[in-house]
């Protein structure tokens, strides 16, 4: 793997996301957004890694990212997603959900829409009103789903002032993350180790399915769905464990993989190479999991750059009827054949890596050491 560029940005980064490319585009990723946290003034910023056509005065090389524009954000940026090419949705620790609009002609960001009381403990009408942090947001144009510490799920639609649907008290604990399964269905993870699937077509306030880990109810912090197989889901927990689930089969995970030494903050399947998975954690490391069943020669390529490479075989819980026809290597139960190769991508241990995103050959991540790392050559 080629160099990974680091830049110190004077703010702790809580979220980084690549701007999605227009469909059918052949370009590589060029712009990413970041959100900061724990500052007196937090910012949502847009950065560019594109070539500027000239070497600037200090000989900045192509990988160095430059700030395009930023805008003040009230509260910590708890989650951030690109709604479309120009709009960014953020979840705030003040319980507010904001849509920012980017104006490319004058490189500014402005607030496009805001739902200020999306998440709260005691309602706006009551005397003891207190807001609750909004912990997760996910978009699927035109819908936006948010979850928060109040255990509430909101379904918003862009340009609608009020929420289209709200499920109060969907969970008695904190909902940490949400993702879409098939379009009317979402999946949430909470702090008592449960995955819940909600179907917006149904009227009730009950989840259509609940899955949980056996054993200790370790809080789950992140979730991501396999890009091609919508029933395969990966979650990361407070103990750093990575779990792979098949939501059609039973209520327990298919694989449990011992990973990080502390909370896993984000897990991402690579959108175009789903045999590759990326996780980042409070323990300051970012791991690249390669489950592609290629020939062993590949292992030599991954020994450069990464600090350590270990081979791990699946540990499978008792799943009697896993379909053999499932192609996904994450679910296959042949431990001898499928060895996952794990590479650590950051050059040295730092403070917590809070967020990462991958698009094509590019990866960006942000840390509590106030640094943003970018690489444009993930698979070389």
């Amino acid at each position: 793997m080629e160099e990974i560029y680091a830049k110190f940005v004077s703010q702790k980064i809580s979220k980084t996301r690549w701007r999605p490319l227009p469909p059918g585009s052949l370009q590589t990723a060029e712009t990413f957004a970041t959100g900061s946290w724990d500052n007196e003034e937090n910012y949502v910023s847009l950065w560019s890694i594109g070539d500027f056509g000239n070497l600037d005065s200090d000989g900045g090389f192509e990988g160095d990212h430059q700030l395009l524009c930023d805008i003040r954000h009230h509260g910590d940026v708890m989650d951030l997603q690109f709604f479309d090419q120009e709009r960014i949705v953020t979840a705030s620790s003040t319980g507010c959900v904001t849509v920012f609009l980017h104006h490319p002609n004058n490189q500014t960001l402005s607030v496009n829409q805001q739902w200020t009381t999306a998440h709260y403990h005691a309602g706006p009408g009551s005397p003891s009103y207190s807001s609750a942090p909004c912990t997760g947001v996910v978009c699927n144009n035109p819908e936006i789903v948010t979850v928060g510490e109040d255990g509430r799920i909101n379904l918003f639609r862009a340009d609608h002032k009020e929420a289209v649907r709200t499920i109060d008290n969907a969970d008695s604990s904190t909902l940490h993350a949400v993702t879409f399964l098939r379009t009317p269905e979402i999946l949430t993870v909470n702090s008592i180790g449960q995955l819940k699937i909600w179907d917006f077509r149904q009227q009730g306030n009950e989840p259509s399915q609940i899955l949980s880990l056996t054993g200790d109810r370790v809080p789950l912090h992140c979730v991501d769905r396999h890009p091609n197989q919508q029933h395969v889901v990966a979650t990361g927990g407070q103990d750093g464990m990575l779990s792979i689930w098949d939501v059609r089969q039973g209520t327990m995970p298919v694989s449990l993989l011992k990973a990080h030494e502390a909370e896993m903050w984000e897990v991402h399947f690579h959108p175009s190479n789903p045999d590759h998975l990326f996780t980042c954690s409070e323990d300051g490391s970012l791991w690249h999991w390669d489950a592609s069943t290629d020939v062993p020669e590949k292992s030599s390529l991954f020994h450069q750059g990464g600090r350590s490479s270990t081979f791990l075989s699946h540990s499978i819980s008792n799943q009697a009827n896993v379909h053999q026809s499932v192609i996904s290597s994450w679910l296959s139960n042949d431990p001898a054949k499928d060895r996952i190769e794990i590479t650590s991508l950051l050059p040295s241990r730092s403070l917590s890596v809070n967020s990462l995103d991958v698009l094509g050959p590019c990866l960006v991540c942000g840390t509590d050491a106030e640094a943003i790392y970018v690489t444009r050559h993930l698979f070389s």
């Binding site: 110190f8 940005v9 004077s10 703010q11 702790k12 946290w37 724990d38 500052n39 007196e40 200090d58 910590d76 708890m78 620790s93 403990h121 005691a122 207190s130 609750a132 942090p133 912990t135 510490e149 109040d150 255990g151 969970d171 008695s172 604990s173 904190t174 909470n190 702090s191 008592i192 180790g193 449960q194 819940k196 989840p207 609940i210 949980s212 056996t214 054993g215 200790d216 109810r217 809080p219 407070q238 502390a262 909370e263 409070e282 040295s348 730092s350 403070l351 917590s352 509590d368 050491a369 106030e370 640094a371």
Partner: protein, 615 residues
């Protein structure tokens, strides 16, 4: 009490009339709170309207600078790397590592300086431009001091040759151009050029010994002297003064004062041309005299000058002390002292508080970081490497970090758990659990009590659930109770809650026999709280009323015993109002119904057990 090293600065607080009213203040870890009281200074008792604001005063503004933050973060990484250098390494490899660390620090300072310089140039208003420029000069002073310390204390080359070579090669090239321009002076230019070229210097790859170099230099110096005596350059005063400079003539050097921006350049140039093989210990003589000569009695030495002088005198403690006074932020002295300590250069200099200087400075720096809303995470690692007071300081600071989101709380908890600070974990979890209970997030409350292994709180949460059940007749948050898993074992009450819910589930699934024995075990094993027994017995009623016999005779006896136990302990009530009488009525009815049901069940059970199977 030590004497003050300088006059304390006076800060005027806007809006406060200190002539009329008294002020009050309180110290915080990095800041001070000040406000005006309504007590007037004169003895009059009238209440004078006072300024309604509370002011926060900070001395350390550097910690809020955007650019300096990068310095703090990058140096944090270098600091950690330094601490982790293998203690086993000794000698050359260790020294080269330490030198590398020092160079890293310096490059970070320089990067910061450059960035700040850029900002200073492009600043929109002159005031902030000036502020940035002064920051730049402070940073460049820091880099200089660090560099000097690195050379003098850390790297300690066998001979300190000040490598400011005067760029003689470039000078020669310019001379040759001049020679081309005016052929008349071509001759002397050539001679000058030769002199410049042949000046012996110690270059890094050179393997000459010191004595060889000294001899060569002496020879060269004499050659220059001869040219001066011969007045070879008399026709060209410019070249003649150059020659004098190269001979180390102080007067000639001082004439070029404007070209030498400060006294240490003067020192360097002077030494280069008069005594290039100076020994480190002799440096301070030259330093002091250079300073005096350069200033010429016109201006007094600045703080930076004192620091450099102390460095030349190899008085590390003085250097650190002067730096501490001159700079408002502890960053510089803390890191420099730590590095020097790793080079084993600081004798243990015990301070009043029992810790040594390195630890004292690191503690001050880390405490300053904790006063910042965001940089506290860096401070944690610095406390880790203060062996005496670090842990205690961390324990006190970490409990006071405001936790406004769960994610921040999780990070703080992780820090505490990694250091086995169980007390802090417990106290933080308790605060969060209480907040959750107040917000009716019982699942979150439970998850916090599980994290802290806090049985008492788990009991509290379970009691809340049970109370809710009694009031509403059904369980809230079934998703939680149904899925407690091994966490159930945390507290008896929690186990009871889980089992009770299991009983309800079994009943719903019509597994009556299992439900019955579970119910009984709940009562006999005494994990059910006494207040709940009536509810349990009432739950038993439908099981007793079933067509088939569910409770065996033995079990029925147990139930009866429980009932008697319960009713016998009931306190005798005196005169009471209507509501209480009604309640009592209901109670007595319930008890009677139970007694009847139990008796009937007993009868049926005895008969069934007494009969032969199949009949």
């Amino acid at each position: 009490m030590e004497e003050l090293d300088g006059e304390p600065a006076v800060t005027v607080i806007p809006g406060v009339n200190s002539k009329k009213n008294q002020m009050c203040f309180d110290w915080g870890p990095g800041e001070m709170l000040v406000c005006e009281t309504s007590f007037s200074k004169k003895e009059k008792s009238e209440m004078v309207p006072s300024c309604p604001f509370i002011y926060i005063i900070r001395k350390d503004v550097d910690v809020y600078s955007q650019i300096l933050r990068k310095l703090f973060n990058e140096s944090h990484g270098i600091f950690l790397g330094l601490q982790r250098i293998d203690e086993e390494l000794t000698g050359k490899s260790r020294k080269s590592q330490l030198v590398r660390v020092s160079k890293n620090y310096r490059s970070v300072i320089r990067a910061c300086m450059e960035e700040m310089h850029q900002v200073a140039i492009t600043a929109k208003d002159p005031a902030s431009g000036r502020q940035f420029s002064s920051q730049v000069s402070i940073l460049s002073a820091m880099e200089l001091i660090w560099n000097l310390c690195e050379i003098l204390f850390i790297e300690v080359a066998p001979v300190t040759i000040l490598v400011l070579q005067g760029r003689l090669d470039e000078a020669r090239q310019m001379l040759s151009k001049e020679a081309d321009a005016s052929p008349a002076s071509a001759g002397i230019c050539r001679i000058m050029g030769d002199l410049m070229r042949t000046m012996p210097i110690l270059s890094p790859g050179n393997t000459q010994t010191l004595t060889e170099l000294e001899l060569k230099w002496q020879h060269w110096h004499e050659e220059c002297e001869r040219y001066l005596q011969d007045s070879t350059f008399a026709t060209n005063p410019h070249l003649e003064s150059l020659l004098k400079i190269m001979l180390g003539d102080e007067a000639a050097l001082l004439e070029q004062k404007e070209l030498l921006s400060n006294w240490y350049h003067f020192l360097v140039t002077r030494l280069l041309y008069s005594n290039p093989t100076v020994k480190p210990i002799d440096l301070h003589y030259y330093a002091q005299s250079s300073l005096d000569l350069f200033l010429g009695g016109e201006s007094s030495p600045e703080p930076l000058d004192n620091i450099l002088l102390a460095a030349f005198e190899f008085d590390i403690h003085q250097v650190i002390k002067e730096c501490s006074i001159a700079l408002s932020n502890w960053w510089f002295v803390a890191h420099l002292t730590d590095l020097l300590d790793h080079c084993k250069l600081l004798q243990s200099h015990n301070l009043y508080f029992g810790s040594n200087m390195r630890e004292f400075l690191l503690l001050e720096y880390a405490s300053g970081l904790f006063a910042h809303p965001s940089l506290w995470q860096l401070g944690v690692d610095y406390f880790d490497y203060c062996p005496k007071l670090g842990r205690v300081s961390l324990e006190l600071h970490i409990e006071r970090i405001p936790l406004n989101t769960e994610q921040k709380a999780l990070k703080v908890l992780r820090i505490c758990e990694q250091r086995q600070m169980t007390e802090q974990v417990r106290s933080i979890c308790k605060i969060l659990a209480m907040k959750a209970v107040r917000n009716n997030r019982l699942g979150s409350a439970l998850s916090w009590s599980i994290r802290a292994k806090d049985a008492a709180f788990a009991t509290l949460v379970s009691d809340r659930f049970l109370r809710d059940y009694c009031e509403r007749g059904c369980f809230s948050d079934l998703d939680l109770i149904d899925n407690l898993g091994p966490a159930m074992m945390l507290s008896d009450r929690l186990t009871f809650l889980g089992k009770y819910r299991e009983f309800h589930r079994m009943y719903g699934e019509k597994r009556f026999a299992d439900a019955a024995s579970l119910l009984l075990s709940l009562m006999t094993s005494r994990i059910a709280p006494r207040s709940f027994w009536m509810t349990l017995l009432t739950d038993a009623l439908p099981l007793l009323e079933q067509k088939q016999v569910i409770f065996s005779a033995e079990q029925t006896y147990e139930l009866m015993r429980c009932l008697e136990d319960l009713t016998s302990r009931r306190p005798v009530r005196g005169e009471s109002d209507i509501q209480q009488l009604q309640d009592e009525d209901i109670e007595t009815t319930k008890v009677e119904m139970l007694r009847l049901a139990l008796a009937r069940n007993l009868a049926r059970a005895i008969i069934r057990e007494g009969s032969l199977e199949g009949s």
